[in-house]
Subunit: 228 residues, 2 copies
DNA sequence: TCGCGCGGTTGACCTGGGTCAAAGCCGTAG
DNA sequence: CTACGGCTTTGACCCAGGTCAACCGCGCGA
C-alpha cells in the first residue's frame, strides 16, 4: 500500500472528515505527513511557529503550559480521533502551549496551506472546523467553570462521572479505568498530585469509591452524583 | 434611512465583516435584528437555546456563569465591535453562560440560518469566523493559564498592563481607566471584590500605583512589569 | 537477585485567599 | 437636606489546598 493511500485511509476514518468526499480527502492527504513519536517526546514547544494541525491516530498527547517556576499545567489530553492546534493555525501567533506524547503515538500533521485551500472551496470542511473549534471552546468554558466555582473534590467527582462505565443499566455501581497517570489527571484538574491522592482517599473513606491502581470502582453512583 | 440600510451600515463597520462585500453584507442584514437593551437587562440565560450570534455596536455585555450557591463568575466582558455566541451556534447545545448588559447597549442579532447560508458560498466569511473563534479560544487559554499558575496580584497586574495608556513614550508612568465596576473586574479575574480591593491597596502601599475611583495611575511601570 | 527510579501516598505544617460582618462613600429620589 | 441602596473598603477570622519532606511499592534493567 502506498503511503498516500494509507494517509487517505487514516483521514477518512477520523470524525473531522466523516462528511468529506474521497477526492477532497485525497487533496488533503497531499499536505499530510505521518508522524511517529515515542512516549515522552516533544511535538512542539510553547512559542514555536505553527505550520498546520495534528490528528491523533493512536496514542495520547498532552497539551500543557509551563511557568517559569517549573510548575506545569496540563490543559488537555488528546486521544485517538481527536485533533489539536487548529486554532493556532488561524492566528499569526506561536503556540501558547507545548505538546508532548504520553505514550507511543501515531499522528498526522496536516499543513496549513492545504487546510486554507480546502476552506476556499469546501464549505462542509469549514463547518466541520467551526464545529471542532466550538466544541473545544465549550470544553474550555466548562474547565473555567470547574476551576472557578467548584472545589477540588467536585472536580474529581466530575471527572470520574464523565468517564464512568455503569456496570448494569440503572445500576448504582460503575467503574473507571484511568487512561493516564494520576499526576497528569491531577494537573488537568488543577490539583497537586498530593491533593488528588487525598481526595481519592477521602472518597474511599466515605465508601463512595474503591481505588486499585488505575482502576476506580464507583461503589455508590447515587451519592457520588449528589455530593455537595 | 430605512432600517435595513442602517443594519448594513452597522455590519459593514464591524471587524468581522471588514472583508465582506456589500452584497454579502446585505444578505446577512436580511437575517439581522437590531436590539436595544437597558443596563442590567438579561439577553439570555444559561440553558436557553441559541438562534444566532450577537454583535455589540455600543455598550457592554457580560457573559457569566452562575452556580447554585448564587456565586457568579464573569467569563468575559464584551465591548463595542466584538461579537459573542458564535460557538454555541455551531453546536446543538444551549448557552453555557448567561448574558447581561452592563450599560445601555445597542446590539445586532444575526440569525443562525443566514450565517449557515453565508458559510455555504463565502469562504472569506468562514475564515473570519474561524479567526474569531480562534482568538476567543486563545483568550480562554490565557485565562486558564492566569487562573492556574498566577497569583491574584499577578492577575491584577496583568489586567492593568493590558489596558494601560502610557503617558509619554518610553515613560515609566501610565494610566488606566477601568471600563467597568470593580466587582465585575474582580469576578473576571477570579477574585472576590474584597481581595481585589486589598490587592490594589497593597500595590498602592508599595508605590506602584495610585487609585482614584475608576482611575488608576501607574506610578512605576518598570517595577510593576517586573513584579514576581 | 538486588538496587534503583519513578509514580504515588502520607504526614506535618503553612498561607493565599475566602467568609462574615460592619462601616464608609457616593449618587439619586424624595 | 436627608435617607436609602448599591458599590467599595476594612477588619477579624478561617479553611481549602499548597509545600516540604519522608516513605512506600512496584517494575525493570544489570
Amino acid at each position: 500500500m502506498k503511503p498516500e493511500l494509507k494517509v487517505s485511509a487514516f483521514l477518512a476514518n477520523l470524525p473531522l472528515f466523516k462528511e468529506t468526499s474521497p477526492e477532497q480527502i485525497d487533496r488533503v492527504a497531499q499536505g499530510t505527513r505521518v508522524l511517529h513519536f515515542a512516549r515522552g517526546e516533544m511535538l512542539f514547544h510553547r512559542g514555536d511557529p505553527c505550520e498546520g494541525f495534528h490528528l491523533v491516530v493512536y496514542g495520547q498527547v498532552k497539551l500543557a503550559l509551563s511557568s517559569q517556576q517549573g510548575a506545569d499545567k496540563v490543559v488537555e489530553v488528546i486521544g485517538p480521533g481527536m485533533s489539536f492546534g487548529e486554532a493556532v493555525m488561524f492566528l499569526e501567533k506561536p503556540y501558547p502551549v507545548y505538546a508532548q506524547t504520553l505514550s507511543d503515538s501515531l499522528l498526522l500533521h496536516v499543513s496549513k496551506s492545504v487546510v486554507f485551500a480546502e476552506i476556499e472551496h469546501n464549505p462542509q470542511f469549514s463547518r466541520q472546523l467551526l464545529g471542532g473549534l466550538s466544541r473545544r471552546l465549550h470544553g474550555l468554558i466548562s474547565d473555567v467553570e470547574a476551576y472557578s466555582l467548584r472545589s477540588g473534590t467536585q472536580r474529581v467527582i466530575g471527572y470520574l462521572l464523565r468517564d464512568v462505565q455503569v456496570s448494569e443499566p440503572q445500576g448504582n455501581q460503575g467503574e473507571v479505568m484511568l487512561p493516564i497517570g494520576k499526576g497528569v489527571i491531577a494537573s488537568r484538574l488543577n490539583l497537586t498530585p498530593q491533593h488528588f491522592s487525598r481526595i481519592l482517599h477521602e472518597l474511599t473513606a466515605q465508601g463512595l469509591v474503591a481505588v486499585d491502581g488505575r482502576r476506580v470502582v464507583i461503589a455508590d453512583l447515587e451519592r457520588l452524583r449528589a455530593y455537595d
